[in-house]
Symmetry: C2
Subunit: 214 residues, 2 copies
DNA sequence: GTCTATAACTCGATAGAC
DNA sequence: GTCTATCGAGTTATAGAC
């Protein structure tokens, strides 16, 4: 086989390969995010990717394996990023603003992500948490020290760092976790909900800082 | 059949009947709360109740029907109760305290309840919400008026009622929804987590009131 | 790599004896 | 009412042709 042909061959194979694998990953992401591991059907994923079930197994061996690939991809481009902000050396109020903005912003882009992650963590807590964070528990002691300093300086009221962190995450994540209920009670359609969430970035920051500032 | 025999017959039947039905309901509640509708197996429920699968169908016809009985029972003894507090005529700060206490208190008694309800609402939003609230949307206008008055009187800072309500529910529910993650990050075992939640009743009330009070 | 066909299995549901 | 046995639908996974 001459060089040109060989190059063509490789290029074509790589192209097809990547393309099919990407199609599967994209389809699987959608289906798993919407239905969860139990609710998802390999047939649905195959249909959405425009291929047949057998190919799914050719590329990813089993449903569980495919799920794990999708899950870790999604969880790791979300959780570690916001944790990093929390552990950063920013000024506390700036930190809160960045954290909330990043957290809610990501969920506006991908509203099903919160449920996806929470459900998998509940289904299989230890393995999942270790895998997401590469077996390294976030060092919340850093935040504790940071908050304690601010308390001592008299800038904020006494509060436990762990409590502050739980409150921050709660205020960001919950509206998406319980989105249908929130929309039903507030009579908001999808578009109105997203506008409210966009506004909520500022509202939550203000709510938190109003609460802790002296 | 003489009267005595008939009475014995009825009594015995009713006793057995109630007992078995109760055993099924109790077992189903545990399994559904832990695994959800998709994850639960009729076999698991039968085993836990100490009977066989066929009897489950004899009493409740189908898995879906059994699930609906359990779900509505659990959801209705939780959601309408806390909504009622929210809509009551109490003083705003008292209302917040009662709401948070009741909400977190219930979840301490039944930590899986929040996930159970949220998952079912996400699986089938409209039907579920209508059934839980008997087709009557909670009249949040009452809270809006109430909050607006307090703002006008200068007792609290300007805030939208819908925002305040979302924040209240978020702060109460989220730690239970994401319980394994909260425990992992804070290094708390089950007992310590519950103690933190008990303490949290007061912490959340303070956090909210500190934020909105002028 | 991709397909069709089908094996292997899980699980909800039913039939029928007692 | 309760049981054993089994059916039948639906799903994951594999075999084998192209």
């Amino acid at each position: 086989m001459c060089l040109t042909k060989w190059l063509n061959h490789v290029t074509k194979d790589m192209k097809t390969d990547i393309s099919t694998e990407q199609k599967i990953l994209e389809a699987a992401k959608q289906v798993f995010l919407e239905k969860g591991l139990d609710g998802a059907r390999m047939q649905d994923i195959a249909d959405k990717a425009g291929i047949n079930k057998a190919l799914l197994h050719y590329y990813f061996r089993s449903k569980d394996k495919l799920f794990e690939v999708i899950f870790l991809e999604e969880a790791r481009k979300f959780m570690p990023r916001v944790v990093e902000i929390m552990m950063s050396e920013l000024d506390l109020f700036e930190k809160i603003e960045m954290f909330v903005g990043q957290y809610i912003g990501t969920l506006i882009q991908n509203p099903l992500l919160a449920n996806f992650i929470v459900n998998e963590i509940n289904r299989n807590p230890n393995d999942t948490l270790k895998k997401i964070f590469n077996n390294q528990r976030p060092p919340i002691e850093k935040v504790e020290v940071h908050v304690a300093k601010m308390v001592k300086k008299g800038i904020i009221k006494p509060i436990k760092a762990e409590q502050l962190m739980i409150n921050m995450v709660s205020l960001c994540a919950f509206p998406f976790l319980a989105r249908p209920m929130v929309q039903w009670v507030t009579k908001k359609n999808d578009k109105e909900f997203m506008i409210m969430m966009e506004q909520r970035k500022k509202d939550v920051v203000k709510f938190i800082i109003d609460s802790i500032r002296k």
